[in-house]
């Protein structure tokens, strides 16, 4: 037996008022406990070996702790709400909360193009990127091969015909290799020799691999030759700087770059914390803050119009069909649900074509020649209309679902008491509907506030005024900032993360306020 939560007296104080006899331990109870243990054991058996192999001890400890906690949770009779909440929460934390938290921490860094890895990776990239062939050094016949998943080079010395294996650690002799007439290795024990197209597909990996040899490195030159060379730029740990080509670049930990006396930096940098810089940039960058108010205003209108429009239309048809003597409801329901059944991304593209000025369906039907998506006002009308079409079946469905839960007796009683249908709807049906649907309306608002697809697949933010290609007439904050963050300037993940924190804050505040207002309403039924 497991204790039901309701056995605990509501008002809290003291031991249980009326102890009930202990229930028998049923078969279902035993079986469910065994099942829990079996699942936990299976997960551990499956997940542990790769973690051990990768020596990822923190993950291993985390996995062990979570499994133990879950096993404990389901083997005791306490924590009943948790038993119901944990399954979904595990997924929520792993794939929703953790990415969001990680993204927020990214907002305080300069992570992005040129700042992807750590400092050691940047030094390696700078050094290997600057390798030049040493005059007079030998040229090897090179064959790319795989040792397990690791890329290695098979190098044949042109003079001695000796075959050696090169990996990131250095050179080692290789016995038993079969060398072809061109000097390429055809086969070698324990290795998979890559064929030309396979090697071409790994071109980037091949050109990045540097095999230490003597005081230089061996690097690929094309896909079948390798040369020995020396790095023109060398990192010196003593001064924490990069020297070479007659210049010195000092490490600047605040920027994550090597900077020389003239203030120029090397292309490859590393990831550092930049504090609130990204947030400050959102607020002070004139291209961003200057248009913020305008975009924000339209963004609010778009989200509100989408939610209220779809709700009004969806609820109206649901109510119209919710009548005992209504015939053909089955047919109507199918017709009304069809827009929702169509793949949304495909229909967004279809709608874009329907709004086309020259051969679009809308102009054809109306006999007009309107450049719908070319003018701000009509483009805005257009995207709201498209969103209405896509969204109202959802509202129709959830309203239908919620209407099933409202007993007809209530409206019948109102009618007997002399209420007009409108009054009965206004005072009885609508409030009851809102109890169930307000949270959905709020989350629908949040969804539409950030409805990237609806804009990106139809207008792409446009139309753009001639003097400003950055901000379009239908741009939402999310499409606008996405273009700024990932656009022509290269990927700036840190900055983009800061922007999304701002957007999140705005939506969260609006929703939290709306949510508080529904609180009393909910408690009536909760």
């Amino acid at each position: 037996m497991a204790l039901d939560v309701r056995e605990v007296p509501r008002k809290g104080g003291g031991p249980k008022a009326a102890p009930r006899p202990r229930r028998e331990i049923t078969t279902a109870f035993v079986v469910s406990r065994i099942a829990v243990l079996a699942v936990a054991a299976a997960i551990l058996l499956y997940a542990v070996p790769p973690l051990v192999a990768a020596e990822s001890w923190v993950s291993l400890a985390l996995l062990g702790a979570v499994s133990a906690a879950i096993a404990y949770l389901y083997l005791t009779r306490r924590f009943i709400p948790a038993k119901y909440l944990v399954p979904g929460t595990v997924f929520l934390i792993a794939f929703q909360v953790f990415p969001v938290v990680y993204t927020v921490t990214t907002a305080f860094t300069n992570f992005g193009d040129g700042h992807r890895g750590d400092k050691a990776a940047a030094v390696t990239a700078i050094e290997t990127g600057s390798v030049r062939q040493t005059p007079g050094s030998p040229e090897y016949a090179m064959t790319a091969a795989l040792r397990g998943d690791e890329l290695v080079f098979l190098l044949v010395d042109p003079k001695t015909k000796q075959v050696r294996l090169g990996d990131a650690k250095g050179l080692s002799p290789l016995a038993g290799a079969q060398v072809g007439t061109t000097g390429k290795v055809l086969a070698a024990p324990g290795l998979t020799v890559l064929k030309a197209p396979e090697a071409a597909a790994r071109g980037q990996e091949i050109s990045a691999l540097a095999v230490p040899a003597g005081d230089g490195v061996i690097k690929a030159n094309g896909l079948s030759r390798a040369v020995e060379g020396k790095a023109a730029l060398v990192y010196d740990a003593g001064c924490d700087c990069v020297r070479g080509n007659g210049d010195t670049w000092m490490a600047d930990e605040s920027q994550g770059f090597f900077v020389n006396a003239k203030g120029e930096h090397l292309a490859q940098g590393w990831q550092v914390g930049v504090g609130l810089d990204n947030f400050a940039r959102v607020l002070t960058n004139p291209t961003i803050s200057g248009y913020f108010a305008g975009v924000f205003g339209w963004n609010l209108v778009f989200a509100l119009a989408s939610v209220l429009g779809t709700f009004a239309l969806g609820m109206s048809v649901a109510l119209a069909l919710h009548h005992p003597r209504m015939r053909g409801t089955r047919f109507y329901r199918i017709a009304l649900i069809l827009p929702y059944a169509m793949p949304a991304f495909a229909m967004l593209l279809v709608w874009r074509d329907m709004f086309n000025r020259d051969f679009g369906l809308i102009n054809q039907l109306l006999g007009a020649n309107v450049d719908w998506l070319g003018e701000t006002a009509t483009a805005r009308f257009g995207v709201i209309l498209v969103n209405l079409w896509l969204g109202f079946p959802y509202m129709f469905l959830v309203t239908t679902g919620a209407l099933q839960a409202i007993p007809r007796e209530l409206t019948e009683a109102a009618a007997i008491d002399g209420a007009t249908p409108w009054k009965a709807f206004r005072r009885v049906t609508l409030p009851l509907l809102l109890v169930a649907l307000t949270p959905l309306l709020i989350s629908s608002f949040a969804y539409n506030f950030n409805n990237f697809n609806a804009i990106a697949l139809t207008t792409e933010g446009g139309p753009f005024p001639a003097d400003n290609p950055q901000v379009g007439g239908t741009d939402l904050l999310i499409t606008y900032t996405f273009r700024l963050a990932f656009g022509a300037g290269g990927a700036q993940f840190g900055f983009a993360a800061a922007v999304s924190v701002f957007i999140f804050t705005i939506v969260a505040v609006i929703s939290a306020v709306a949510f508080r207002r529904t609180r009393k309403q909910e408690e009536v039924y909760a």
């Binding site: 037996m1 497991a2 939560v5 309701r6 056995e7 229930r23 469910s32 790769p50 009943i80 909440l85 399954p87 979904g88 997924f91 929520l92 794939f95 953790f98 993204t103 048809v317 009548h323 003597r325 053909g328 089955r330 109507y332 329901r333 199918i334 017709a335 649900i337 069809l338 929702y340 059944a341 169509m342 793949p343 991304f345 495909a346 229909m347 593209l349 709608w351 054809q364 039907l365 469905l397 239908t400 679902g401 099933q404 839960a405 007993p407 007809r408 009851l432 109890v435 169930a436 949270p439 959905l440 709020i442 989350s443 949040a446 697809n453 993940f493 999304s500 939290a512 039924y525 909760a526």
Partner: protein
């Protein structure tokens, strides 16, 4: 309201709902198969676009179709179960952190998720190294990702519905000696069939048309879903020429969703709860 007026109103909305679909049908059976040659009403009837689609070497449509339906069925079933469990706890139990939990659910959902794509990409790069069966280009990995959003809107929808189911029912069961698990499976689940049906449909549709995540996740042509594959179909230069094929694919994609709807229709319509309230 007069019945006739109801019919007129619903018919007008139906017309609005159906005309873009009619346009797609017209494009799908238009033998010319281009965007420029398509009108609202079909100008010809031929299955040539469907034939092209199903025999195409560059677009393994059948494979995409299977992937999509499989992912959508399994993911929506699992997410339904997860969110129903949570909704039951939120609606019927009072515990510390309940309100905070509900609010947190709503707020987490509001984070612009596609900006977390970089992070998700990095997480799954690691997962792919450790557990290839759940990494990129696998339906299971994508499913795990979708289950991350299982709580959230669905939970809210179900909780709203559960709140309107009278508590006296499970209190009566408790008095009769039922455990909380028995109440959940024997009392609550049968009563919430309508909302389960609605939510299942919503989850199925949401998964079928999900594009952004799948686009990051599935690179291998064989592992793609319909949304990812079809997007590639009219990308760039192919847009006008492949429109007929694209329209045909759009219609075929709608078939599983419409089937699920027809299958669940009777549960959606039958007012099981209304009966329970009387009891």
């Amino acid at each position: 309201m007069k019945l006739a007026l109801r019919h007129v109103f619903v018919l007008i909305v139906c017309a609005f709902a159906l005309f873009p679909i009619l346009f797609v049908v017209s494009a799908a059976i238009n033998p010319m198969g281009t965007l420029a040659s398509t009108d609202l009403l079909p100008t010809g009837a031929s299955l040539v676009n469907f034939a092209h689609l199903l025999t195409s070497d560059s677009y393994p449509f059948g494979r995409w179709f299977f992937n999509s339906v499989f992912i959508a069925l399994v993911a929506s079933f699992a997410s339904l179960l997860l969110s129903m469990l949570a909704a039951y706890a939120f609606s019927r139990m009072r515990f510390a952190g309940r309100r905070v939990g509900l609010l947190a659910l709503l707020l987490i959902q509001m984070f612009p998720q596609f900006l977390a794509i970089v992070t998700i990409f990095m997480i799954f790069t690691r997962v792919t190294e450790l557990y290839p069966a759940f990494g990129f280009n696998t339906v299971w990995g994508l499913m795990l990702l979708y289950l991350g959003g299982a709580l959230g809107v669905n939970t809210w929808l179900m909780k709203g519905f559960l709140d309107t189911v009278p508590k006296e029912l499970d209190e009566a069961a408790t008095v009769d000696g039922a455990t909380h698990a028995q109440i959940f499976w024997r009392v609550i689940m049968p009563l919430v069939t309508p909302i389960l049906a609605v939510t299942a449909l919503l989850a199925f549709i949401g998964t079928m048309s999900e594009f952004l995540m799948a686009n990051v996740f599935l690179r291998d042509p064989e592992s793609k879903t319909l949304a990812v594959g079809m997007y590639g179909m009219i990308a760039g230069d192919h847009r006008n020429a492949n429109f007929g094929m694209f329209a045909a694919a759009t219609l075929l994609t709608a078939i599983p969703t419409v089937s699920v709807f027809l299958w669940l229709q009777k549960y959606i319509v039958s007012g099981l709860t209304a009966g329970a309230v009387k009891g």
